[in-house]
Amino acid sequence: MSACIRLALASYACLLRLTPRSYRADFGNESMSDLREILLEAERFAGQTVVGTALRAHLDLMYQLPGTWWAELRPEPAGSGRGAGAPPGIRERTMNFMNELRLAARSLAKRPGFTLVAVLTLALGIGANVAIFSIVNAVLLRPLPFEDSDRLVQIRHHAPGLDLPELENSEALLGYYQRRAPFLEGVAGWGRGSSNLAGADQAIRVNVVAGQPALFELLRTQPFMGRPFNADDVTPDQEDGSDVVALSWNTWRSDFGADPSVLGRVIELDGRSVEVVAVMPEGFGFPDEDVDLYRALYLDPDGDFGTFGIRGLARLAPDVSVAAAQLRIDEMVAGIPDRFERITTEFLETAGFSASVETLRDSLVVDVESALWIILGTVAFVLLIACANVANLFLVRAESRQKEMAVRAAMGAGRRAVATTFLSESLLLGIGGGVVGVLIAGAGMDALLRIADLPRASEISLDAASLAVAGILSVVAGLAFGALPMARYAGTRFAAVLRDNGREVDEDAIATMTAEKTEKVQAAFGGSILNIEAIRMPGRGRIEVTGQLGDVMRESAQAALSFVRANCAEFDVDPKLFRRSDIHLHFPEGATPKDGPSAGVAIATCLVSLFTGRPVRHDLAMTGEVTLKGKVLEVGGVKEKLLAAQRAGIRTVLVPKDNLKDLEDVPEEVRRALDVIGCEEVETNICEALLDTVVANDLDDVEQAAPARAARGGERARARE
């Protein structure tokens, strides 16, 4: 097996890790061994490349990725054998999706501060990236707007020994190359300057490029109208430039009113009469589109060797690489002494004379290339940071929406529904950020280009590629930070969606079972009133616990339930009831986070009351942690709890027996007002708390009971924390 196949398999295995775990477990091994067979087969038969096949397999996996997650996350996958249920149609899905987006928009509109901050943060990140990408794309990535532009090279000379590191070309050297360089299809000297133009609509200052007639040919450019320069246009007596010019498209449009009869017109350039022989096509500009006028230039091939300053453009002959051309031109430089009498080898060595060939693109952009890449990298990080910030905001917001999610869960929303909610909101935010980002990019880029002097600046614009990048960035950013809360919440059951958010009510908690005076006691020192509400409905033995609870409290509820279920015979509860009903325990004042174990006995009592129908005494409070075996364990803060209970008008308080010693700290009048009973077993609590009468309800026929009626059978108890 070749290294290539091993590499492909390894990378496929990595990619496979992105699929849901269940998919991997079911199909991972088979996928890998299949791919191995496929690649080996590709290796055996000519006509299929291993790399291509591996690439297709990878693409195939990427293409299927969303599908594997969709199968994972959808609420109730139709089990095998249940018959063929068609997936929702495309219209249905679109409708659902639009609906989700509408809901998401509404939910975002409800929190304009959050939305504004998130959108602006993303917009800055996306805008910066789009702007810089547009620049990088136009300057560095797009080829120059000339035919076969990668064959165009610039020739320069260097003489560091004479303190002249950058020389252009001299007439004699250009002539030398023009005559004796077969590896170059052609060479043309050119220069750039500005002149005063009269004879147009008004006198103006124009940018002029003067070039040898071969220049346009090298660029493979034909005039829009008129004729290209030819060798007859230039004669040795025209030292200042020839008598023929070509207008750029823009100049023709703006200064000559796009006059179709402009050809043959005589204009004055720096006081000399020249004839317009051509108009260059739209979008053409050499070296950039700022040039207004092109003028034919005469260079003497036998001219002075030592006068440099003429730029040299050349086109490589077919099949000659830049590196090869460099080697050949080095040889030619070494051969200079044979051609030019006055130049000696010693002189060239002293001067360190050399020639360089680089592509025209490199010569134009090399100064800014690395800087631009660095800036692009930087703004990419800015976007990452922006995403991280928004993700953070999003997470915080998701935390604060636990109640909403609990309600949705209670109404039957599945994991996918919650995931969709988060995703559509984050997607909306991402798209909003993208749209604003493009606006920012548009405005910012103009400002940037005015400050920065960039090559090819005229080619920079917000084009389709930039918009595509903006779109991709928005969607990816949106999905990325939407996936965070999703990963956090969608992977667990709903009870876990309502995870605590870390803040705990202090331990001065007491569980009471009274119903009145909530507000009053809530204001009292040492915690807040907590209702324990429990309802039972037809179901399948699930328990839902809600109300901003910490893990400890949640677990203590679980322990209480297990205890009650395990001892149902003792409490005269039909064990089948547990299987046939769902229980929802709720601790109202859902906005207040609660935690701690001391409501355990109260929860147990509440559950027994729920299943037996025996109501709870309303003047009784209790506190204590309950173990699985029904032992009541000591809790802290009993003094404060008793104070609060007394203030709430409670008569009887059940505390753990081990806490009776804390009574010494309790003021005398409180002790007198309360009947404090120490309990060791939770049965004691239950016996004390529950009345013997049974409230009539449909306990034994839960399955037939309508939900509303089952709710009526619900028992209310309350606990104080």
């Binding site: 699929t19 998919y23 079911d26 199909f27 091994n29 088979e30 996928s31 890998m32 061994s33 299949d34 791919l35 067979e37 496929i38 297709r56 397999a57 195939d60 996996l61 293409y63 299927q64 990725l65 599908g67 594997t68 199968a71 996958p77 139709a78 089990g79 095998s80 054998g81 249940r82 018959g83 063929a84 249920g85 068609a86 149609g89």
Partner: protein
């Protein structure tokens, strides 16, 4: 499958990968790689099911109850690790319905001059 009430045909075309897999299983149980091979042979190499499409579709088809994984090994000589799948009754029906749907389209095309060899 959602059927058109008038013609009792599936309303939407079946996914190509589903169709090929069901077709490959019509002659008997096969494992994933075997399905790939028979699809490739039957179509003369025009349709190649790469692993993710293959197993993704197999999972969807199992979820839909159109195919079923066999417990235990169907062919002890073959690779022990591979799981075999067979068509369920629902799968056979779905395949037949899809073929009938395609037949309808073919009939309609024949009725016009689309296939008259022009």
């Amino acid at each position: 499958m959602a059927r058109d009430s008038a013609t009792d045909r599936p309303r939407r075309p079946m996914k190509a990968a589903w169709f090929h897999i069901l077709l490959a299983l019509a002659d008997g149980a096969q494992h994933g790689f075997g399905i790939r091979g028979s699809v490739k042979d039957r179509t003369g190499g025009a349709v190649k099911l790469y692993p993710a499409t293959l197993y993704g579709s197999i999972r969807e088809l199992s979820d839909e109850g159109l195919i079923q994984a066999l417990e235990g090994d169907d062919d002890p000589d073959d690779d022990q690790r591979r799981r075999y799948y067979r068509l369920t009754r629902a799968g056979r029906e779905a395949l037949a319905a899809e073929v009938a749907r395609q037949q309808d389209i073919l009939d309609q095309a024949r009725a016009t001059r689309a296939l008259s060899g022009a």
